[in-house]
Symmetry: C2
Subunit: 350 residues, 2 copies
């Protein structure tokens, strides 16, 4: 487990943070970074600092939907060959970055799908391409939407046949907080209620996480994935203005519910996910908390609680677990366990 090579698909906020964080993990070597415009491969390990400097200001949403990238100064670059990862000296343009990644798949232990804002079936379809292309390793996503899990589960036999271990929903929520709920459930013989409530302060991190903000807005009652994708940056700013910078979310469609049901912890209907986003302050508007209520074998009712320190950023809580699950997934894959695994079934490595 001391030498894991991985690729990031997408060089927006999540992809870039994964590259950055991997510098702290001796066991992980990033060997490929791709977006819709280009590819960077180096099987001795990418120069992460150069890649981060070149892609600074990338907007994850734009990388996902049209590949546009903002400059470090905040201005949006014009469309052209230096967009996205191609702005790095290690990269080159590519007509089909995904196919190129598949072609090099025998040298890539794990592929992190850092593509939060494509169509909701984009990740399943991308996985199909890898399976059909002969890839046999780990694929991991940080997707949020419950409906995608079923689409992945439907492919379980296909993944197993290909030798792919697919880790789904492996960020913060779903991900770290799903695992925390599954762990907290262990005191109980019946879980009656899982309540996940997050707080995110995103002032200085706003530029780098526009895609995530857009994805969150899609959870508001007035919007959905399709309508949120068509919003301009100005319209998103206006929505944030309308809420005085602080947007509360209730009953979000986060896959924690189906992932916990899938693991047998409770019914999906017993899981509630909500949160508060403050786009004008870095301080979290509320402490991210998971509460798991259940009945013990000896008939008591109690609540176990997991809380993230307010000083941990969303990026730390998404990307740390993602790399942890990636490590755990490679371990499973090397042991010959294939198919679809969720965070409630998998203890992330460190």
């Amino acid at each position: 487990m001391d030498d894991i090579t991985f690729a990031v698909l997408g060089t927006g906020g999540i992809g870039r943070r994964a590259l950055e964080m991997s510098q702290h993990k001796d066991a992980l070597t990033p060997v490929a970074a791709c977006d819709r415009h280009g590819v960077a491969f180096d099987f001795d390990g990418l120069d992460v600092d150069e890649l981060l400097a070149a892609t600074e200001g990338n907007i994850d949403n734009e990388v996902a939907t049209d590949g546009g990238a903002a400059t470090a100064e905040g201005g949006v670059k014009q469309h052209g060959e230096d967009k996205g990862v191609v702005a790095s000296s290690q990269a080159r343009p590519s007509e089909d970055p995904i196919q190129e990644s598949i072609d090099h798949g025998d040298r890539i232990d794990a592929v992190l799908l850092a593509l939060p804002n494509y169509e909701h079936d984009f990740i399943p379809r991308t996985a199909d391409r890898f399976a059909e292309g002969g890839y046999s390793g780990v694929m991991i996503d940080v997707l949020k939407r419950s409906r995608v899990i079923d689409m992945l589960d439907d492919r379980s036999d296909e993944f197993a046949e290909a030798g792919i271990t697919f880790i789904c929903g492996a960020g913060a929520t779903p991900g770290l907080l799903t695992s925390a709920a599954a762990l907290a459930a262990q005191s109980f013989v019946e879980v009656t209620d899982v309540d996940i409530h997050w707080g995110v302060g995103l002032k200085s991190g706003y530029e780098d996480n526009r895609g995530t903000v857009r994805e969150d807005i899609a959870h508001l009652p007035e919007y959905d994935i399709e309508t949120a994708r068509t919003l301009s940056d100005e319209e998103i700013e206006a929505i944030i203005d309308d809420h005085d910078g602080v947007i509360e979310f209730e009953d979000m469609e986060h896959a924690d519910d189906v992932l916990l049901e899938r693991a047998g912890v409770c019914d999906a209907a017993d899981v509630t996910v909500g949160g508060i986003l403050d786009a004008r302050n870095d301080e979290k508007p509320t402490t991210t908390t998971v509460r798991v209520t259940g009945t013990t074998f000896d008939g008591e009712t109690a609540t176990n609680t997991f809380q993230l320190g307010d000083e941990t950023s969303m990026e730390a809580n998404v990307n740390g677990p993602a790399l942890g699950y990636l490590k755990a997934g490679v371990r499973r894959n090397r042991a010959g366990e294939y198919g679809v695994l969720g965070p409630a079934e998998l203890m992330p490595g460190f």
Copy 2:
């Protein structure tokens, strides 16, 4: 994963609670219960209610050290054939219950070693007997002492060759709380401090958990495993009296430290375990809390926290996880992953 057979070795508090709790788990069928006096086998599933009634008042420590059993009325039975599990109509005396379990090993997916108070190398030596006897399944313990982990790790190749997946330290602490610490660590790139502080109220559960109390007393500065084992029940009562019923423990040798180091989370020296036992109240004297402090990739210092509800009993927090890890271990074993695994590497099933 819908049909797991398991054996309990030891019918004291932990073994009995494991049997009881397994009634809430459809996937788990207890097929063997053994102690030093006898064996009960039924591969269609033991009659747990009858077994629990027959062994009520068993003192886990005495089962472990001399097999004596108290009656339901609290009086200690005389030595004889109806001691321990043999008091059940499903059981019969045995000269070598462990060998009999090994002989039936091909029908037992997992063996729970519910033997907290033997010599500290008893569990490793018992595992040797299973490996040498051709057992290939899961073995799981709820041991506490750090020093035992190394003894098990030394046997990793032996276990792998035999096809044994050994899950060590899979109760509450180490176990559930170790996993919680490993999970909480995911926000950080460096963990500087893990603090585990437990509270146990043990008035009504006292009789059933004398072995655990004895084990705890061995952690007091004035005692060790050997001297604590020689204490009479009266001497233990006197120690509790001396503390007015409430005993505080600091810097306990709980294997959370080596298990977290083994998983790469932090140095063993950065882990502190302490707790408060109130032997005169069922209410916990303090809320069981895990605090994990670390540095994020973006340079912040924060503390993530996991707390068990005060209404969860020690038994719920030890035996729930033990069965959860047992399930997860069987999954690994069936996937062909052998050797030694700790709770920081394994998400318990539910």
